[in-house]
Symmetry: C2
Subunit: 198 residues, 2 copies
């Protein structure tokens, strides 16, 4: 999941003291106590910030006797500063083309698996097509409302006789969740898509 890494990088630079540390290190390596003096903070504070910068791979460390010298990781600084732009537009583009492809697939699936009066002929065997059909059915349920099992059966029978199978598919593919015989829509429609995207 690339998102975390980018967030972490920006967190590391979202603090004035840490940026000042990097400015100082850009002129050459320095140890913790000197940094503490120049920035008028305690050594403990430098350790704290060094940890954050290290986690974001923004600094190197070199030990000489008791002293640790920090230096800037120029490569990571430069490459990560550009990563955010790439992340945003790469995912936007994928989301865009995926929407287009899915739109066409969806049209054809709805045309082929539903009759003209809206009944479901049968569940597609192909995974992606099945999801499209299930999503279509589920879109006629109310968000946030609770349904009894009986109500679910009645609802599904509008479209197809095999309510048991379809009801089970709703749960299996997490369009709904069931708690103590009560069914409810899962609000996170986008979830699966996000997970694969970012």
């Amino acid at each position: 999941m690339q998102l975390d890494k980018v967030v972490n990088y920006h967190k590391a630079l979202a603090d004035p003291t840490r940026i000042k540390i990097l400015i100082l290190l850009a002129s050459g390596e320095l140890n913790g106590q000197i940094l503490a003096e120049k920035l008028c903070v305690s050594p403990a504070t430098i350790t704290h910030h060094a940890t954050k910068l290290r986690e974001a791979s923004l600094i190197h460390e070199r030990r000489d006797k008791n002293t640790i010298f920090f230096s800037i990781n120029d490569y990571f600084l430069r490459s990560n500063s550009a990563a955010i732009v790439e992340l945003i537009y790469k995912n936007a583009k994928e989301a865009g083309t995926m929407d287009d492809k899915n739109k066409r697939l969806k049209e054809s699936v709805l045309k082929n698996f539903f009759t003209t009066d809206g009944k479901l002929k049968h569940l597609p065997a192909q995974f992606k097509k099945k999801l499209i059909v299930l999503e279509q059915l589920v879109s006629n349920l109310e968000k946030g409302r609770s349904y009894t099992e009986k109500e679910m059966n009645t609802f599904i029978k509008q479209y197809h006789d095999d309510f048991a199978t379809i009801r089970r598919e709703f749960i299996m593919h997490q369009f709904m969740y069931r708690d103590n015989e009560i069914y409810e829509l899962n609000p996170q429609e986008m979830w699966e898509r996000w997970e694969t995207l970012v």
Copy 2:
């Protein structure tokens, strides 16, 4: 002060929800409620994040009737992502050259205004040279220690008879501060330099 602006930009991108918002907006403008739905958060949360993104100039807004459409500010995103690298190296470079220049100036000032046995001939009239002399004197005081006015006078008299003037200069140029007749070194040597640098 450019530092604040850069910190603000990185704060704006240091949150996964805000990055997701930007990814969504990269495909085209969207209003608050749609964003809230897609990200499974409340409209109030979107308002909160929109405020942060607006403050960092990362989004535009367009009103149509009751609905506000957000869109990404491509220009600011791209230009600010590069700003951090520039800030760090520009200031490092300036600090470096300044140190070189100052080093030579300092050498000549110390040679010209101090006698061979370390006494101060007289205070330079030129501002920058005066600061160098004062800094030199002050460097012989202990950090963190308190001095009475009497002790200050004795200390200064090692170098020059006109202790009153020099003592006043220490305060005026903030090398020391005085609280209730007690003098102490100002620990923020770098301060002035920082203010002009970043």
